[in-house]
């Protein structure tokens, strides 16, 4: 953790304009990502979790400037990505690569695997024809594919093989940093483990740094060193993986974890069911963005956007958690336990009693 971070994301904002009416005037904006900050040290993996539409994918794409961020900054190896001109950006894109979720859509159906892999090498003028072939063979070999793959088209492969091609496509450019945008969600369960193991092996072998975006909490736990949880365009909690899974502080993280099925009956937690829908990111609620669905919401949550509270590298944006941490005098596990208890009590009762349940915390 003491090494210089490879990637720093600072207060990143990506808003998409909403156009309405005959003249298509901008009438508002979808705040897909609204003030997200984190950093990833070299050779480490940050897992980014959250439900669909919370902005995880937009974070990944904004880092690579596949969508233009509207605020904040991304610094890669010390250089500001947002301020870069087209030429520097192109050079940067060799060093930062991305693997998309859907290997059926992300590979151009009209190109052979050779064309798909070689294009990046040609664009970045990496090696002559013979050298390029060697590089492509090496990348395919690393992902468990044979050189015979080169002359074939994407449609001739299965989903797992295609995702391997997509990974080889990213690796061939010898990047330092990979955004893995739900890289296994589109695959069969039996293939998911293979691809996850491959990604972990590659990270160790090549010293890669990952941003691993996923909604699969168990996979994130397995892959990541640190985990960040997003809700409605914001980060709600961030900690190293072990700490977060042991002692989640944010009510949203708790609810998320309680939804993970487990085969160990001893570990089975009470299921916390959140009511209501995720608010529209074009009109996020005031105060804490989670308050309309939070069983522990208090009046302050409705008014004041919770600032970051950090303890031993465990960061959380929550008024209730902040108070509990203070009360337990910095004992994260104790604070987490009492929040979990209050959550369990609150979700066991009807919604109207939620406020009363949160009262138990104060007592």
């Amino acid at each position: 953790m003491t090494t210089q971070p490879l990637l720093v994301v600072e207060n990143l904002q990506t808003h998409f304009p909403v156009r309405r009416g005959l003249l298509r005037r901008v009438s508002g904006s979808v705040q897909a990502v609204d003030g997200v900050s984190f950093s990833i040290a070299k050779r480490r993996t940050l897992g980014l979790v959250g439900e669909s539409g919370c902005g995880k994918t937009t974070v990944g794409r904004s880092i690579l400037r596949l969508v233009e961020p509207t605020g904040g900054d991304v610094r890669f190896a010390g250089a500001s990505v947002r301020g870069m001109n087209a030429r520097d950006l192109r050079a940067l894109r060799r060093r930062m690569q991305i693997v998309f979720q859907d290997p059926y859509g992300s590979l151009n159906p009209r190109m052979t695997v050779r064309g798909i892999l070689e294009e990046g090498l040609v664009i970045h003028r990496m090696g002559d024809a013979r050298d390029r072939l060697a590089r492509m063979r090496r990348a395919l070999d690393r992902t468990g594919l044979t050189a015979a793959t080169l002359e074939r088209y994407p449609h001739e492969f299965s989903g797992g093989q295609r995702q391997r091609i997509a990974i080889a496509r990213a690796l061939v450019l010898e990047p330092e940093f990979l955004v893995l945008d739900e890289p296994i969600s589109a695959l069969d369960v039996s293939i998911q483990a293979q691809v996850v193991n491959l990604l972990v092996e590659l990270r160790e072998e090549l010293g890669l740094t990952y941003l691993f975006i996923s909604h699969d909490l168990s996979v994130v736990e397995y892959v990541s060193d640190d985990v960040a949880v997003m809700y409605l365009g914001r980060l709600v909690e961030r900690a190293d993986a072990a700490a977060l899974y042991r002692a989640p502080l944010h009510p949203y993280t708790l609810a998320l974890f309680s939804a993970v099925p487990t085969i160990d009956p001893a570990r089975r937690r009470r299921r916390i069911v959140l009511t209501g829908d995720v608010p529209s990111p074009s009109r996020p609620p005031r105060g804490c963005r989670f308050h309309p669905r939070c069983p522990l919401a208090e009046s302050v949550c409705r008014e004041v956007d919770p600032p970051a509270t950090t303890l031993d590298g465990h960061l959380v944006h929550c008024h209730v958690a902040a108070r509990e941490l203070e009360r337990s005098a910095g004992d994260v596990r104790a604070a987490a336990a009492s929040i979990a208890e209050a959550m369990a009590a609150a979700s066991a009762k009807p919604a109207s009693d939620a406020a009363a349940a949160s009262g138990t915390l104060k007592a």
Partner: protein, 329 residues
């Protein structure tokens, strides 16, 4: 591949049989025959007397019911004989051979021009989608698309042949050439080209508007795909993304459209050739229907149908070239 071609050709023959049989039946059941329409209505004094009429009917085979007539026509076609035109007293094959050149001169030029302009226009529109200049271009194209050719033809005639008469911009009102056949070749070519400008313009603009909209729509579909993001993540520049990744993936629907527009080459020419008195197949078709000239109608129908089927076959074969996922086996 060979079996595929053979199967396609067999299907083609069956289709041709159905089309020609249907058209022959329709033509023969239209009121009037070549004999009555031709003479009786124009000059009462030249009306056939009943015996002559019967004799003529026997000669042309019009005394038998139409299925028999169709069978005879078919038998002749199989032997390579398209028959003789009743009203023009010439072999149908000769008539078509005379007319096919002028038609392709106008329609072919229009087709090539339309595609040459539509591809850059469509790409431009998708690259600059949403900007003011793109919206203005699209609006103009929409207006053009909804403007009927026969109206546009009349306007063009008024402007270039009437208002601009005597200026350098004057263009001929109609016809293909004003010069005798023995005029010097270069002069003749220039003269025909001048005559062709207005009909070619009329046939070009509609398909130009349609094709460029079509390309834009397909491009917008393509640029939303994940592999476009992959290409950008590789570091590919905007032009490379546009051409190598997006445009090449829109070629498949484009080839379909191209295949389907081949028969339209002739279909669309019927009206234009009529307005500009252009001596092509479209005009011949129109006249032969008016004169109930069954052999010519059938000869042209056969031509058009074969061209349509050829266009479709061509499109299907081109799929294999543009899309590696398609194989004709």
């Amino acid at each position: 591949m060979t079996t595929y071609l053979i199967r396609r050709l067999l299907f083609g023959v069956v289709t041709l049989l159905v089309i020609t049989c249907f058209v022959y039946g329709l033509a023969r059941n239209m009121p009037g025959t070549p004999l009555t329409v031709q003479l009786g209505e124009t000059d009462p004094s030249r009306k056939f007397n009943p015996e002559d009429l019967e004799r003529m009917k026997r000669i042309y085979g019009l005394d038998k019911p139409w299925p028999v007539g169709y069978a005879q026509w078919l038998g002749n076609v199989v032997q390579g004989d398209l028959g003789r035109s009743i009203s023009r007293k010439q072999p149908v094959a000769t008539l078509i051979a005379e007319r096919i050149g002028p038609t392709f001169l106008v329609s072919g030029t229009a087709l090539v021009l339309a595609w040459l302009a539509a591809i850059p226009l469509g790409l431009y529109a998708s690259a600059r989608s949403g900007t003011v200049d793109e919206r203005a271009t699209s609006l103009v194209l929409y207006v053009l698309y909804s403007f009927p050719t026969f109206v546009a033809a009349l306007f063009l005639q008024i402007i270039f042949a009437v208002w601009l008469r005597g200026t350098n911009w004057e263009l001929p009102l109609f016809g293909m050439t004003d010069l005798p056949a023995d005029a010097p070749l270069l002069v003749r070519i220039t003269d025909i080209a001048r005559h062709a400008i207005l009909p070619v313009t009329c046939q070009t603009y509609v398909s130009l508007a349609y094709d460029s909209r079509f390309i834009k729509a397909n491009m917008e579909e393509a640029v939303r795909q994940d592999y476009i993001r992959t290409a950008r993540a590789k570091g590919a520049g905007p032009w490379r993304v546009l051409f190598r990744h997006a445009f090449r993936n829109t070629l498949i629907p484009l080839v379909t459209l191209l295949g389907l527009s081949l028969p339209g080459l002739i279909g669309g020419s019927v009206i234009i050739e009529q307005i500009f008195t252009w001596p092509g197949m479209g005009r011949l078709f129109f006249e032969s229907i008016r004169e109930r000239d069954y052999p010519t109608i059938m000869g042209l129908t056969l031509m058009f149908s074969m061209l349509t089927l050829a266009g479709q076959l061509l499109a299907d074969l081109l799929y294999c070239v543009v899309d590696p996922r398609v194989s004709v086996e």
